[in-house]
Amino acid sequence: MKRLVLLAALALGACANPLGDPATFDNNDVELAVGNTARMGCSCLFVMNMDEAYCRAWVKASPDVAKMNIDWADKSVESSAFLSFAARARLVDDKRGCVLE
């Protein structure tokens, strides 16, 4: 039941904040959560060179719904939540760090 309430709340969040209000931005919390996890996770692992356990804790945000999948060979982090939200960040080089695609 709790999960259902959470999903309903998130779905409402996705519909809120229509464009046109200059004081708000058309993002919902899940989009932001996966963007945060991908960007910060990539930088934590491949720029700060911290270990995976540390970086999983480093990126944790509210709502804590974003999964973090690491591609060590590609030096990238993909984050996803539910079925339709995803983001990816990749280390571009040793000067410019990670870019959220």
């Binding site: 509210s62 040793d94 000067k95 760090g97 870019v99």
Partner: protein, 375 residues
């Protein structure tokens, strides 16, 4: 006539303030003179009890959570300590310490004659040349004075109300310069002081465009990071390649200390000025916009994206922000408790990196206890 010209040129040369001299410059690494742990046991215990004691629940990420402290005194590394898995080799996220870097990079561009701070930003960003945003000057971007209706909110506010979160992770992330300049013009440039990650992003974009003409895409490294011995600084960009100068610089604490040391030495490094004469002084003087337009509750004055330990002018606040630290101190400050503190009269640079999610280490206490260790 030639004699007169020579005389005038000589006078001009003499009028320049010489760069400070040092026994050694830490380009290749910090000379070490670590404090005597026996003689300074009490002071070290006090510093470490304050800075390194977890005051909250680690799993819940609450309380003061220090990752490093580095102390430079009289040009030497006197103390360093790392915690929570960090070592001297790990870069750390700067958050808004990056703003001071972006300001310095504008300084390097001015020094090279590539930027004039009273120019419109559109001189350097020609794609906006027909935009009303052309009334914003370069100087406005380093003094939080663009007048943009920027909303500097973080995790503790509505995510949808935050210009920063939308820019870094949301709808604005692919083209962050566009996101910044899409904000409405809430006030005439120079007539509103509004702390803004967007303004610093704008400054870094201007610096990048100007410096790249001469130095290419690695300009920041060529004009600043490499000359001070910090070639491993990472300055992140967005998908369009625009540097994220308000928040996304990564460096080791020792390298952050070198940046502080540059400002401790009036912008000079081993006899060479990297920013114009007077730049550090202007950076550490309250900006005109701050003096005239900063909101009442903003008690710590700012110059060119550095925070200053002086009473707010006019002195509506009667105390310096960091009461136990001399009034010539200034700092670069970042979210979650990142600090580069520079105290010229103590010949001191203190770097602290941290992960304070729900609280914040007190800069006054940190600087005071650090000085007690090395004095």
């Amino acid at each position: 006539m030639k004699a007169l010209l020579f005389s005038l040129l000589s006078s001009a040369a003499l009028a320049q303030t010489p760069c400070p001299t040092r026994e050694a410059w830490p380009t290749q690494g910090w000379p070490e003179a670590l404090v005597d742990t026996s003689a300074k046991a009490t002071q070290l215990a006090a510093l470490e009890a304050y800075a390194f004691t977890l005051t909250g629940d680690d799993a819940e990420r609450t309380g003061l959570r220090t990752n490093s402290v580095v102390i430079i005194h009289e040009g030497k590394l006197k103390y360093e300590k790392y915690a929570r898995g960090f070592t001297r080799d790990n870069r750390h996220l700067s958050w808004s310490v990056a703003k001071s870097y972006s300001s310095a990079l504008i300084g390097t561009a001015v020094k090279e004659g590539l930027v004039k701070i009273d120019d419109s930003i559109c001189v350097y960003l020609p794609e906006y040349v027909n935009s009303p945003k052309c009334s914003i000057r370069v100087k406005d971007a380093i003094t939080f004075a663009t007048g943009l209706g920027w909303q500097e909110e973080y995790e503790d506010a509505s995510y949808q109300a935050s210009s920063v979160i939308a820019m870094l992770y949301g709808i604005g992330h692919r083209d962050q310069l566009h996101h910044v300049l899409s904000h409405r013009q809430a006030a005439e440039p120079g007539k509103q002081w509004n702390y803004s990650t967007g303004d610093a992003h704008l400054a870094a974009a201007v610096a990048q465009r100007a410096l790249a003409q001469r130095h290419g895409r690695d300009a920041f490294w060529k004009v600043l990071f490499e000359p001070i011995g910090t070639p491993n600084v990472v300055f992140e960009v967005d998908a369009k390649g625009t540097p994220l100068g308000g928040s996304m610089v990564y460096a080791t604490p020792r390298d952050f200390a070198k940046f502080g040391f540059l400002y401790l030495n009036d912008g000079c490094w081993n006899g060479e000025r990297l920013v114009p004469e007077g730049w550090v002084s202007a950076s550490t003087t309250p900006s005109e916009t701050f003096v005239q337009h900063a909101p009442e509750g903003q008690s710590t004055p700012s110059g060119y994206s550095w925070w200053l330990n002086i009473e707010r002018p006019p002195p509506t606040v009667k105390e310096r922000p960091w009461a136990d630290v001399p009034n010539d101190a200034f700092s670069a400050n970042g979210h979650w408790g990142q600090f580069i503190v520079v105290v010229p009269s103590w010949d001191l640079v203190v770097v602290r990196t941290g992960d304070d999610r729900d609280s914040r280490i007190d800069l006054n206490e940190l600087a005071k206890l650090s000085y007690e260790v090395v004095r």
